[in-house]
Amino acid sequence: MNVRLQMSMVFHLDKCIGCHTCSIACKNVWTDRKGAEYMWWNNVETKPGTGYPTRWEDQERYRGGWVRTEKGDLRLRGSSKGKTFGNIFFNPHLPMIDDYYEPFTYRYQDLFDSPEGADQPTARPISMITGKPMDIEAGPNWDDDLGGSPVYAENDPNLAAVTPAEKQQLFELERMVFFYLPRICNHCLNPGCVAACPSGAIYKRGEDGIVLINQEVCRGWRFCVTACPYKKTYYNWATGKSEKCILCFPRLETGQAPACFHSCVGRIRYLGGLLYDADRIEAALKVSDEQLVEAQREIILDPFDPEVIAAARANGIDDMQIKYIQHSPVYRYVKEWKLALPLHAEFRTLPMLFYVPPLLPIVAAVENGTYDSSQAGLFGAVEQSRMPIRYLAQLFAAGNEGKVRYALKKLLAVRTHQRMKTVGDVDAGAVHAMMAELEIDAEEIEAIYRLTALATEKERFVIPPSHREQAEEMLQTDLWGTKGETGFGFVEAPVRGA
């Protein structure tokens, strides 16, 4: 057993209101710079929809992630060592800026400077790359809230899994359903970006599993952009280096949640440590698509198990950290309650950001917004869902509908149970039947309810201390020598090479 600590995330999709506050927080802190204008390390997409960059999930086109070969080995879909050297002068699977959008601003000054004339002065849109006037054809969240459905939502690659009838029903006017999918880097256990980087500039931090790109080592060979199936490594066209979400590690190291988590209005985000067995990563990836979600759960270890604790200590994880991991909300959602699922597990990177699938578009489907408690039982809403389970399973369970159905039923059981308690218009027998079917008790329901609806900041973000006080030793410099000069002298300005 090779126990490691991974900072992990859960996004509760029922709570996301699609306000994009997270994206703005991230943009202001990290990517409001030349060359990074188009980057949204955190973005929120409408589903069904084609997302950002357009149709990023279509790996026939973008060639991201890993595939399992006939023999059962794993290999990158987009490149291999040999192909990397053959394609280094021109990467045939690189997404282009127009797959995201060309960043633009407006010539506001013209509003003030235009000479007096018969026409109202206008602020023309100009490209932030060339500085020239341009026609805006796309922008961030161009298809927000199903805007332009025939062009965007209907081309969602995941819809390949649903029947034509289901698809037609999904887009019936006035009865459309959608939900929001906020995305950041998943800080995967088997990251494609790391494996594809010929320079070895991308690495996983042993201490907390954060995946980072060393800007001093990156040489702009741009293979990481292809290899990340989530398109969460971005090429900075101005500096000639790739960049990605850093999980706000400077904030984490000082005990603060990342900017997107901290600013989240819907409080949908949870952050905590997980212990996992690094020796079993490979085996967990060599299973069939159907088994992927379960295999990933398997390698997440029980932080209360004495054997696990001993192995964690042996690997340098201290008792304080273990204590925090035991209180990790992520552990509860992912492993104990089996409510949170990885996004596109079939990309086989072992993403460590998990999603509680959305129940709202499902119950809203039943006529008049009331639960159908007649023949089909209280779970009827899940079975007759207007948002096809098949679609959700495509996103969150590599096609395994059972995993999604279980999570949705549990969410529904929690809801119905709480309604019985507070409103009292639900039949207790039916609720207990639901609980019996899922094999859960009132205690677990209460706990899920608490963490979902009432949790305070301290309960949502349980950040194992990273011992910032040792950071200086970490750099292995002469402590007296560097005294008083922090922040001066050793940071190189990110100036583009000639």
Binding site: K81, T84, F85, F89, F90, N91, L94, P95, M96, I97, I129, T130, G131, K132, N190, P191, V194, A195, C197, P198, S199, G200, I202, Y203, K204, R205, G206, E207, Q215, E216, V217, C218, R219, G220, W221, R222, V225, Y235, W237, A238, T239, G240, K241, A278, I281, G316, Q470, E473, M474, Q476, E492, P494, V495, R496, G497, A498
Partner: protein, 229 residues
Amino acid sequence: MSLDVVLFQIFPYVAVTIALVESIRRYRQKSFSYSSLSSQFLESDQLFVGSVPWHYGILLVLTGHLVAFLFPQQALAWNSVPVRLYILEITALAGGLVVFIGLINLVIRRLGRARIRAVTSPMDVILLAVLLIQVSLGVYIAMNLRWGSSWYAAVLVPYLRSLFVLQPDLSLLTLMPWMVKLHVLGAFIFLALLPFSRLVHLLVVPWQYLWRPPQVVIWNRDPKRSTIR
């Protein structure tokens, strides 16, 4: 001191010194600036018809120059059979033309596209100009001064080797046509430009990727543990 001495006896050493000292200094002090500065993200189609022929061609042609530099006798022996000489000459000329076509596409792309101009530094323009002159000279020589693969091995390689062993001998070189001398000069200008331009990308070709395990894990607190799983 004649111009030949300045250009072909002194300048080569200056160029090599600049190349060595500045590329090491830049690597150690400004490693952020070491990058291929790929612009494929902004424009792809014309890069394909530029970068691919350019790179495959230039690597082939430069390898040819290097092999003959290392093994001049063998090169001459190979060329002693006419068919083999023709094959070599035709390959070299074809390589040169591929390089030329690729480079023309790169130049048109760099100057003709607004997006690419936005990421073009003055040094990029200087570099492309020098490369264009150098490649044009090379192609001209291959077409007009026949059997270059032989006279390169017999005349220029001894000159280059004399520089290499620090006993410069210009006697043979000075007899060469000025087109050839310009091409030799171009090579040293290229070396001198290397550390000041994006050409530094040739110094950081990521060979280590060939034997590196796929995953990289770095432990900050205990660097000795850092791998590589």
